[in-house]
């Protein structure tokens, strides 16, 4: 229960976000599954710090989003942005602000830096997978990337 329940909540919050983002009904289950999967990975991993857990969870979500986007032939952002939302460190941001107002400088700096590190871990995870996929796409079909074509063929 301790593991299952948060995943169900993550699934349902992603469903609510999908309605806000106007995702078509047939894609909603798949986007929500991404969110639940990310949180499941986070809960199952066991590291002393949260940063590697966030990083690995984001990598798993990104891979899931890339694979699903290929299968359904839709843009990757659809799956990626919605599934990453449960990982966004909203709690960290809130507590940082609260400590700042209370004047507890040590806790403020500690929580703030930790939140920043978590945000960095998410960004790095997305960046890693996106860059690898982009590399693979260019290797597979270089002629599709018109930005390069102009320079190569004309000069």
């Amino acid at each position: 229960m301790r593991i299952l329940l948060p995943c169900v909540y993550a699934f349902l919050s992603c469903a609510a976000f999908s309605i806000y983002f106007n995702v078509s009904p047939k894609r909603i289950p798949l986007t929500c599954f991404g969110g639940a999967l990310g949180w499941l990975v986070y809960l199952l991993l066991d590291f002393p710090s949260d940063v590697p857990r966030y990083f690995i969870a984001t990598v798993v979500i990104s891979v899931y989003a890339e694979v699903m986007a290929r299968i359904c032939k839709v843009p990757v952002t659809l799956f990626l942005t919605t599934a990453v939302l449960p990982l966004v460190p909203g709690g960290g941001m809130y507590y940082t602000m609260e400590y700042c107002l209370r004047g507890e400088t040590a806790l403020f700096v500690e929580t703030g830096l930790n939140t920043l590190a978590l945000a960095g871990a998410i960004a790095l995870g997305i960046m890693l997978v996106s860059s690898l996929v982009r590399m693979w796409k260019v290797m597979k079909a270089p002629k599709l990337f018109y930005k390069d074509k102009i320079q190569r063929e004309d000069y």
Binding site: P6, Y9, A10, L12, S13, A15, A16, F17, I19, Y20, F21, N22, V23, S24, R27, K73, V74, P75, T77, L78, L80, T81, V84, L85, P86, V88, G90, G91, M93, Y94, M97, E98, C100, L101, R102, A119, I122, A123, I126, M127, S130, S131, R134, Y146, K147, I150, D154
Partner: protein
């Protein structure tokens, strides 16, 4: 078909292509997707050069023909939201255009169809979207059912206030500030009158509706693709929203929380 379009028809095609990019950008697509879609569509019709520069609120396209005549169009974009259904449809349309090269009239007709396609009704966005997000994220962040119900009300109210302030063209910074102030205010009042035990869960859960998660993710993807200006603009936007949320919440905490 490819080579014998008149210069007038090329200009119409340019117009249509920039419309496609405009709709994509408005629906919240990444900058590189906008640029690549415009380029692919125009190259499909046998234009010699296509130069596209897109950032978050502006698209510039110059096309050069085989006889070195050039046409340029600039489009300023004012509103921005997130509409994945539309991105999906436009993506399919640009794929269709590259394969079949339909006449310009047909593209215009299809663009209009996509633009007028129905979204979820407003009540669904208020009660399932915003209120649902607040409800489940409050449970997710360790609240109980009472907290979640208060968050449900806060979430629905957030959307109503958000729309009302958007309607009178208030800037985004102030909208987020007011909404987060309202959320914190209601949550703290509810805790003071013993309607719910955990104010923190309610506030964090409901603020998730306003947190700029999409802007951050998309700015990352823009930076990877090399669109540094667009990426930085989105990151800056996310930072401003986060600042507004912190300020609004902080003000309510000072007013009611006795800090």
């Amino acid at each position: 078909m490819e080579q014998n379009l008149s210069s007038f028809e090329y200009q119409r095609l340019l117009n249509t292509a920039i419309d496609l990019g405009h709709f994509l950008l408005e629906a919240g697509a990444e900058t590189y997707r906008v640029e690549e879609s415009i380029q692919r569509v125009l190259y499909a019709y046998g234009i010699k050069h296509v130069d596209v520069f897109a950032i978050t609120n502006n698209i510039t396209v110059t096309i050069t023909m085989a006889d070195d005549t050039c046409y340029t169009r600039l489009r300023r974009i004012y509103s921005r939201g997130t509409n994945y259904q539309r991105i999906e449809d436009l993506n399919n349309l640009s794929r269709y255009i590259c394969e079949h090269r339909p006449p310009v009239e047909e593209i215009n007709r299809r663009l209009k169809e996509i633009y007028r396609k129905k979204t979820y009704p407003e009540w669904a966005i208020v009660f399932l979207g915003f209120a649902g997000v607040s409800f489940f994220f409050t449970l997710f962040f360790g609240g109980n059912l009472q907290d979640a119900l208060i968050a449900f009300v806060c979430g629905a109210l957030t959307r109503v206030v958000f729309r009302a302030m958007e309607y009178v063209h208030t800037n985004g910074f102030f909208i987020n500030l007011v909404c987060s102030f309202l959320i914190t205010f209601i949550a703290l009042l509810a805790v003071q009158y013993h309607l719910a035990p955990h104010s923190n869960s309610i506030i964090i859960g409901t603020l998730m509706t306003l947190v700029p998660g999409v802007a951050i993710t998309n700015s990352m993807r823009d930076v990877i693709a090399g669109d540094l200006v667009a990426g930085m603009m989105k990151a800056m936007e996310a930072l401003l929203v986060a600042l507004a949320l912190a300020m609004g919440t902080g003000m309510a905490l000072i007013v009611l929380g006795g800090i």
